[in-house]
Each structure stands twice: as C-alpha cells, then as structure tokens.
C-alpha cells in the first residue's frame, strides 16, 4: 500500500490527484504524442522569451533615451564601470552556453553520463559568473557607485561632470543596477533549472526520444546569454574611447 493510499480515501484521491495540479503523467492528456508535447513546450518557451525581450528591451530603451538627452555624461558614468570584469563574464557566459548545447547534444546521442557532466559545468560556469558579478558589485560598492545608497556627488564633479548633470549619472548607474540585477536574477533561476536538469539526467529521465525539459532549459539559458551580449556594450563600453 502506497503512502498515498494510507493518507487519503479513494474519493479524496480523486479530488486531489485526478485532473489537478498534482497529477503526474509524462504525456499530458491534451497532447497526441510525446514529440507533439515537446514541440509545443519548445514553442511555448520561445514565446515566453519574446516577452522577456520586451521586458529587458524597456530598460535598453530607457538607457537609450537618456543617452539621447546627454551622451557625454552617460559616457563618463559608463567609464566607471568595470569593463574588464564585464569582458571576463562575457567569456564565462559564452562558454557556459557551449556546455549547455553540448549537454543537449550528448542527450541526443543517448550519452547521459556525458550530458550530466556538461550540465554540471554549465551550472558551475553560471555560479562562476555570479561570483565575478559579486566581486564587481563589491568594487562598485567601494567606489561609491550605488546611487541612493553609497554615492558621492563631489567625486563626479571632480571627474568633470557638471553639478547639474549628476542626475543623469545616477540614472545611468541606477539602470545599470536594475539591468544587471535582473540579469543576475535570471542567471540564478537558470542555474537552479540547470541543476535540476543535471539531477534528472543522472537519474536517466531523458534520452534521445524525450528530453523536452532539457531542451527548454537550454533555450532559457542561451537567452540569458543573449541578454548579456547586449548588456555588455550598452553598459560597459560606452565611454572607453575617452580613455
């Protein structure tokens, strides 16, 4: 007798598990076949990513609007960001994207052990990214780059920003925190998802015939990478030509 049977009467079980959120079938009833379900899931993920594009796009729009209003000040503000750590992090994320795609590749070839290893490296590189990000945030903190919390107008006047334009510096840095913050949040969610996929892959849940969750996680992970690809020049490289 299963735990389920000891805990609930048959009537309760119907109420609880049949057709509810808790029901667990691999092939859901609305689909004709597993491939049908997988294709739909992948498409769903693409559509979701389109909404994410608009989500981040709004922030890029804001940066662009203030850049239109005052390019010079935005460049000065951008110069204070750490483009070196930014570049390293670009490498890290790109490499993790490769690992993710290799994991899917291995699953397509039914090499679950390989896939498991690649997934672990993917998650590891993700954690590595967050580590660098933390270091960068710490340096920003030391350098008083947190508007509203730790920020010094005088330093910026010394850097040649007009006193009346410090608002733009604050806005740019604020957008920097919001954008990288939301991105880091996405990376964190991605790391969790990749780790779960690693565990499930190790348990042999996925094979050439069915690896839809892995595929969908991959799409999400690559998307996080794409966002970073645009974040990097938009935030870090605006002012480096003045060096």
């Amino acid at each position: 007798m299963s735990l389920r049977d000891t805990l609930f009467t048959p009537a309760e079980q119907t109420a609880l598990f049949d057709h509810t959120f808790l029901a667990r079938e691999r092939l859901e009833e609305q689909y004709a076949s597993l491939p049908h379900q997988s294709e739909t899931a992948a498409f769903g993920m693409w559509v979701f990513l389109a909404t994410e594009v608009m989500f981040f796009g709004t922030l890029f729009l804001a940066v662009g609007a203030y850049w239109c209003l005052d390019p010079q000040t935005i460049e000065l503000a951008s110069l204070e960001l750490n483009w070196k750590i930014g570049s390293i992090n670009t490498f890290v994320l790109l490499a993790s994207s490769l690992m993710m795609v290799l994991a899917i590749h291995a699953t397509q070839l039914n090499q679950q052990k390989q896939a498991y290893r690649y997934l672990l490296i993917t998650a590891g590189l993700g954690i590595c990214f967050l580590g660098f990000k933390a270091v960068e945030y710490y340096i920003d903190y030391r350098e008083n780059l947190i508007p509203g919390f730790k920020f010094d107008d005088a330093e910026w006047i010394a850097r040649g920003v007009d006193a009346s334009r410090i608002g733009y510096v604050k806005i740019f840095l604020f957008l920097y925190w919001v954008m990288t913050g939301f991105h880091a949040l996405h990376v964190t969610i991605g790391i969790i998802a990749v780790s779960v996929m690693a565990v499930l892959t190790r348990r042999g849940r996925y094979s050439r015939e069915y690896y839809s969750p892995l595929d969908v996680t991959g799409l999400y992970w690559h998307f996080v990478d794409v966002v970073w690809i645009f974040l990097f020049p938009t935030l870090y490289l605006l002012g480096t030509h003045t060096l």
Binding site: T14, F21, A50, F174
Partner: protein, 550 residues
C-alpha cells in the same frame, strides 16, 4: 430544412442528469477546485473573482457619481474622492476589463472551440489565476488601508512624490496581475497553434479564437513593458533615484511613453474579445454566415499590430514634439480602419437573415451600437486639432467608457448569456435577462452621453467639485448611473437563480454550429469523448451543419 421559433428543438434530457459525468461533478470539494488544472474550472474560478472585482470597482464609482450631483461635491472629502476614482480605475482596468473576457470566456471556450482537451499548459493556467488572486488581494489591501490617489495612470512625478499613499503595494499587485494576463496569453497562443483539432485550419477558426489570439499577442508584447515601467517607478519611489522625476534629473515623459506603450494596446486587449463574442453571437441568431469572414479575421490581427503604433495620442498636449504628434495622429487614424471593417461586416451579416432577439443577441446589438458610437468619437481624439481641446476632459471619459463599458461589458454580458447554458447546463429567465439588457443599454446612454457635452464644455476629469454650469449634465449622468447599477445587479440575481431553478437545456440550445456546442452541456471533463474532426467553417448557418459534420 426549417427552423421553428427559438429555442430550437432541444432534446429533453432523457437520462437523469446526475448520471451524466461533466466537469462540475467529476470530483467534489474545495481542494479539487483550488488545485484543478481543468480550463473550465479555472474559468469558473476566474468568473467568481472577476465578478467580485467588478462590483467592488462599481461600488467605488457609485459613490463618485453620487458625490458629483452637486457642484461642491455632496458626499466625501477631496482626498477620499481621489482614492475612490483611483480604486475604480485600477480595479476596473487591471482586474476586470483586461482579464474578464480572456480569462473567463476564453479559458472556457477556446479549447472547446478548437476541439482540444485542455490548454497547452494547464498548470501555468492555474498559476495565472493564483497570480491574479494574490495581485488582487494585495491591491485591495493597498486600496482599503491607506489608499492610492494617483489615478490608474500613475503619472510620474506625482506618483513618485505623493507621500502618504500605498503606491508601492498597488504597483506590486498590478505587476502580479500583469504576469497573470501574460501567462494566459502565452497559453492561448501556444494552444491555438498546436492543439487544433484535425481539419481545423486557420480560416475555419471561429472569430472568437482569432480575437483571443490577437488579444494574447498584445498581452505578450505589451505587459512586460508595463511591468518594467511600474518596477522602475516603484524603485524610484523607494530609493529616490529619479528615473522619471524631473527634480532628480529624470524625464516624466519617459514614464508616459512606457505606460501608454502598454495601456493603449491594452484598450484592444479589452475590446478585441468583445468583437470576437459579437462575431459568434450575431451569425447564430441571424442564422447567417458571418459576412466577410476573412476580412473580420484579418482585421483582428491588423488591430493587434496597429494598436502598438498609436500610443502617444494620449500625449498630444503632454509636451511631445510636433513631429511625434503628427506621426502618432496619422497612425491613430489607421487603427480605426479595421474596427470600421468589423462594424460594416456585422451589419451586413444581418442582411436577409432570420433574426431572433434572444438575450445574447440583444446585448450584442447593443454592443455594436455603443461600440460604433465610441469608435466614432475616438476619431475626434485622434484629430490633433480637437484633441488639444478635449484632452483630459469628460469627453475622453465618455469616449473610452463607450468602448470599454458600452462595448466590452455589453459584449461580455452577451457572451456570458450565450455560453451560460454551456457552462452550467441551465437556462436563465428570458424575460428578466431581456429586461436587464434593455436597462443597461438605456442606463448607459443616459450616463455617458451627457459626459460628451460636459466634456466639450470643458469639465476636466478627476474633479471632485466643478463649476455650477456643469451641474445639469452631471445630474443626468448620475441618474443614468443609478439605472445602470440596477441593470448590472439584475443578472447577478437571475443567473444565480438559474443555477438551481433554471430549466435544464439541451446541449445546443441556440442551434449554433461551433464545435463547443457539439459536446454535452456542461461539457465532460475531457471536453470531447472523441477528438472531433472538422470539415467546415464555423458559421454555415444556411445548411445548419456543425463544424464537425461531414
């Protein structure tokens, strides 16, 4: 082939109804509802919560209308008045109009109409209801404790400076509700693409499905922008870093751009489903195929696209540049074209029909009249020269209430009455429901026609007191509002009554041809015993053949 007076030959329930398994009796208990992933049950959950929200928003505006009977304001203080109209706007827009048609009628009907067993992602569907409920509860908490007085538009810098109000909790609630509608939209798009029954090609889809598809499209691409704008506003308030507040170096017009990038398309999130409902109901009760089906279908997508190009017509006198104003005015006229196409086609559908005036049809004819009036007055607002006078006056209020309340709520009532027998298996009182349709129609005109006049005379919106010469129009409007309130309360009574005492209907009481009518009423848990195969378009009323009849 002949048809008699309605209701058409409905097979009397031969078997005792209790034995027939349907989605309502397949399992019992609160838990089986709160954890359900059945789209039909989730639709009912939405129906209950959305109705509650409607009456809350309605209560707020009833006080406002009563207050405006005298020029000095008869009832409440300025501060309370401001909170009340904000509550009305926020609840009605974000918690009633945006979710009502997709989440209730769309959720219930869309899978049935395309012959699917459920939506593509039923768990996400349930999640979006929970997001709605949590967002709604959070917003209500904010509204009922300290309140918010910014208006539903949350214009910065007022919203980032107003000190003693619950702006941030309200915004959190709205972001949650936004994600709720985003997930619903995601589900509908994916479902429409991947779960259509065999033979159901795109141009055999009912217009309601087209409308839902277009609506979802807008939700998906616009909601994230609103969410981000509101998050930025929240952070600005909390951290005092000016992204929108000019005192801190920000640009208040950026907020308006982002806000209307969502909120103008959101108007079409509200009205497109209404157009879909009407396109179902009119052919059914006129016994005619929808005139110009392809044009009506494509105009839904055209509206979805064009609605994104016109947002700054809300900002003609806000300080945008002349160039931007000219571009947006020109584009604003374009979006009126597909709406006009629809109105002409609905009218043409009636031609040489066999028109029955059942309740859903009455509501939908009312919709066409009110929507046309609203749409035509919209042209005044797209015209730069007139908008610069009537902007932010009661003219605008009247215009968008014609669209949203006159249009959308009428259509929603029409849809609810049309599919009520499908949802519950019971019929409501025809006499009372026709009376309600009539009262709502008359009450609506009486409420909002005077507002056009008082608006052109210059009464600005959001005024808790006004100059005496506007009084006559305000009294008329308030009188109309009280009639309207009766009209909205009536259905609550007779629909509840019908749940228990209404006569059982057959599966297809209206003799409609759509797939959703070809299964039993209420539908079984799996919608169709056998997945139907579709052989024809949705409105072949000349032969009376259902979509799945070979």
């Amino acid at each position: 082939m002949t048809i008699a007076t309605l209701p058409p030959p409905a097979p009397l329930p031969a078997e005792p109804p209790a034995e027939r398994s349907n989605y309502l009796n397949v399992s019992y208990g609160v838990v089986s509802w709160l954890l359900t992933k059945d789209h039909k049950r989730i639709a009912i959950l939405y129906l209950i919560s959305v109705t509650a929200m409607f009456f809350l928003g309605g209560a707020a505006i009833s006080i406002v209308r009563l207050h405006l009977i005298t020029p000095q304001g008869a009832l409440v203080s300025a501060d309370t008045y401001n909170r009340l109209f904000t509550m009305h706007g926020v609840i009605m827009v974000f918690f009633f109009l945006v979710p009502v048609a997709p989440a209730v009628l769309g959720n219930f009907c869309l899978p049935l109409m395309i012959g699917a067993k459920d939506l593509a992602f039923p768990r996400i569907n349930l999640l979006s209801w929970y997001l709605y409920v949590v967002g709604g509860a959070w917003t209500l908490y904010a509204m009922l404790t300290e309140g918010v007085d910014t208006g539903w538009t949350f214009y910065a810098p007022y919203s980032s400076q107003a000190t003693h109000y619950n702006v941030v909790p309200t915004l959190i609630g709205l972001v949650l509700a936004g994600f709720s509608s985003l997930f619903t939209g995601l589900n509908f798009i994916v479902t429409t693409h991947w779960l259509r029954a065999p033979g159901l090609t795109w141009f055999r889809l009912p217009i309601f499905v087209w409308a839902m598809y277009a609506t979802s499209f807008i939700s998906l691409l616009a909601v994230p922008v609103l969410a981000m704008a509101l998050i930025l506003l929240m952070l600005e308030r909390l951290l005092h870093i000016g992204i929108f507040d000019p005192a801190l170096g920000g640009d208040p017009l950026l907020f308006q751009h982002l806000f209307w990038f969502y909120s103008h398309p959101a108007v079409y999130i509200m009205i497109l489903p209404g157009m879909g409902i009407v396109s179902e109901v009119i052919p059914c009760f006129a016994r005619k195929a929808l005139f110009g089906y392809k044009f009506v279908a494509c105009s839904s997508l055209a509206i979805a696209f064009l609605s994104f190009l016109v947002w700054a017509h809300h900002m003609f006198v806000a300080g945008i540049t002349l160039y931007a104003a000219l571009i947006f005015s020109c584009l604003s006229f374009l979006v009126a074209v597909p709406s006009a196409i629809k109105v002409f086609n609905w009218t043409a559908t009636l031609y040489k029909g066999s028109i029955a005036f059942e309740t859903p049809m009455l509501f939908c004819l009312g919709f066409v009249a009110l929507f046309t009036s609203g749409g035509l007055t919209g042209l005044f607002l797209a015209t730069l020269g007139v908008d610069m006078h009537v902007h932010d006056t009661y003219f605008v209020i009247a215009h968008f209430h014609f669209i949203m309340v006159g249009g959308m709520v009428m259509a929603y009532m029409g849809g609810l009455h049309f599919w009520w027998p499908k949802m519950t298996g019971r019929m409501y009182s025809q006499w009372w429901s026709r009376l309600a349709a009539l009262i709502i129609f008359v009450g609506f005109f009486l409420t909002f026609l005077p507002q056009f006049v008082v608006g052109y005379n210059g009464m600005p919106r959001r005024y808790y007191q006004y100059v005496p010469e506007f009084q006559v129009w305000n009294v008329l409007s308030s009188a109309g509002a009280s009639i309207l309130a009766v009209g909205y309360l009536l259905p609550l009574g007779y629909l509840f009554y019908s749940l228990r005492y209404g006569p059982r209907t057959g599966d297809n009481p209206w003799g409609a041809t759509g797939l959703e009518w070809q299964t039993s009423s209420p539908p079984p848990r799996d919608n169709f015993a056998v997945t139907p195969t579709v052989y024809r378009g949705p409105y072949e009323y000349d032969t009376g053949k259902a979509q799945n009849e070979p």
